[in-house]
């Protein structure tokens, strides 16, 4: 049984079909990356999975349990097991770093404050942000904010972590600190779906890569296959354009 199973998933914004019959799965602890041009549906796929954009057709199962995205309870259960980090403006601007990381454990998981804070501190330690625990988001650089956002996403102990272009809005010199943080997570058994334009990084950390275009998965395979010997013309075209830089 696959940890995350996506079957024939479709979604639309009004009459624009942004996801068309997407099927993809990920085993426990696998790191699957989604690549492809802007507007190809990568981010939408993650948004559908976490219940922010409703699907129009298809099925998603987590560890064999089917998700009903029309049912609030079911969506809450999904968000209990799955976390997402967005491109930017993740952190609550009115809360300190520590509060951002502890708000869900305390308010949602009803854990005692002291215990939640202790765990939050060890997470912040891991992303290298422990000494900034009392800072507000606007006092931090974009890269620091994203590292805290990752800590916050991990604070609810997710089985699946979705990363939606988490480095796209960062200054180039801030990208690596965030990628280092993610790299360290890939060996921890969390299933990850990564949307990224950092091709070298994607190639290095992914177990599999899915190439998306116009709402469809064009091709899916090992990093070596996608980058070195893609079978589909669209993939070859995309990869060659990207790798030229």
């Amino acid at each position: 049984m696959k940890h995350l199973e996506i079957r024939g998933l479709s979604s639309a914004y009004g009459s624009v079909r942004v996801l068309r019959d997407v099927s993809l799965d990920a085993g426990k602890g696998e790191v699957v990356s989604l690549i492809g041009p802007s507007g190809s549906g990568k981010s939408t796929l993650l948004r559908v999975l976490i219940g922010l954009t409703p699907p129009t057709a298809g099925e998603v199962s987590i560890a064999g349990e089917k998700v009903n995205y029309r049912n609030r309870r079911s969506v809450k259960a999904v968000r209990d097991r799955m976390s997402i980090v967005f491109q930017q403006y993740n952190l609550f601007q009115n809360m300190t770093v520590l509060r951002n990381v502890t708000v869900a454990p305390i308010k949602i998981k009803k854990r005692p404050r002291a215990e939640a804070e202790e765990d939050a501190m060890s997470l912040l330690e891991r992303v290298g942000m422990a000494e900034r625990k009392d800072a507000y988001p606007d006092e931090l650089s974009g890269g620091q904010q994203q590292r805290v956002a990752i800590a916050r996403a991990l604070a609810t102990n997710p089985e699946i972590l979705l990363l939606d272009e988490v480095t796209s809005a960062l200054d180039p010199e801030r990208v690596n600190e965030v990628l280092d943080t993610i790299r360290a997570l890939t060996s921890e058994g969390i299933t990850m779906l990564i949307v990224s334009h950092e091709m070298a990084f994607v190639r290095e950390v992914s177990t599999r890569i899915a190439m998306m275009d116009e709402g469809r998965i064009v091709e899916c395979g090992s990093p070596a296959r996608i980058f070195d010997s893609p079978t589909k013309a669209r993939t070859r075209d995309f990869v060659s354009k990207i790798l030229k830089h």
């Binding site: 922010l52 968000r79 997402i84 993740n90 609550f92 009115n94 708000v103």
Partner: protein
Amino acid sequence: MLEQIAEQIPLFFGYHNVIFILQAAGRTLGMTFAGCSVGFAFGFLIAVLRQTTGPVLFLPRLLGIAYVEIFRRIPFLVILFIVLFVIEPLMPGTSLFGIATVSVCLLSTAFLSEIIRSGLESVPMQQIEGAKVLNLNGLQTLFMVILPQSWKVILPPAAAFVVMFIKDTSLASQLGVIEMTFAGEMLVNRGFSPVLGFGVVLVCYFAMSYPLSRLAIRLEKRLEAS
């Protein structure tokens, strides 16, 4: 004229007159603050209602929008008379002050609701989605994430509105509420110089609104710093 004023000053600032003026100022402030406080509460409810989606609250949402759009377009004086002619037969004996205060509530609800709404909507969508994916519910999101970030957008125009309303309550004099303006008129009718009478009224209005403006600026600075 100056001689007349100089002559009248000791009499004008006699004990009874001063009490009379202070009471009138109290009514002006009372109408404004009681009315705007209630208006803020109702305006907040309507603003929050307008943020909801889905069919369950469709009718209340529609009513909220209709209320705001209608009452923002009616002059305060007209509201005063409507309230007077509606309340008078229903609840005879209601004080004119009460009627004026209810009118302030009705109008300020509509305006403050719009101010609060633009504050709530100033919070970036990502903040709300961030709360959603952490499983915070609607009320938690509102009170822990959206509202704390909206105050700095809500406060300046809301304070300006209240300060403006201190002046606008002078229209209640048309109903016979003895507030600041009407008090000035009565003193002038008693034979005091209009320059003296309304001069004092002018100073009183300034004294009531200026501290409030200063307070708002200080609060604003503090919010910006946080």
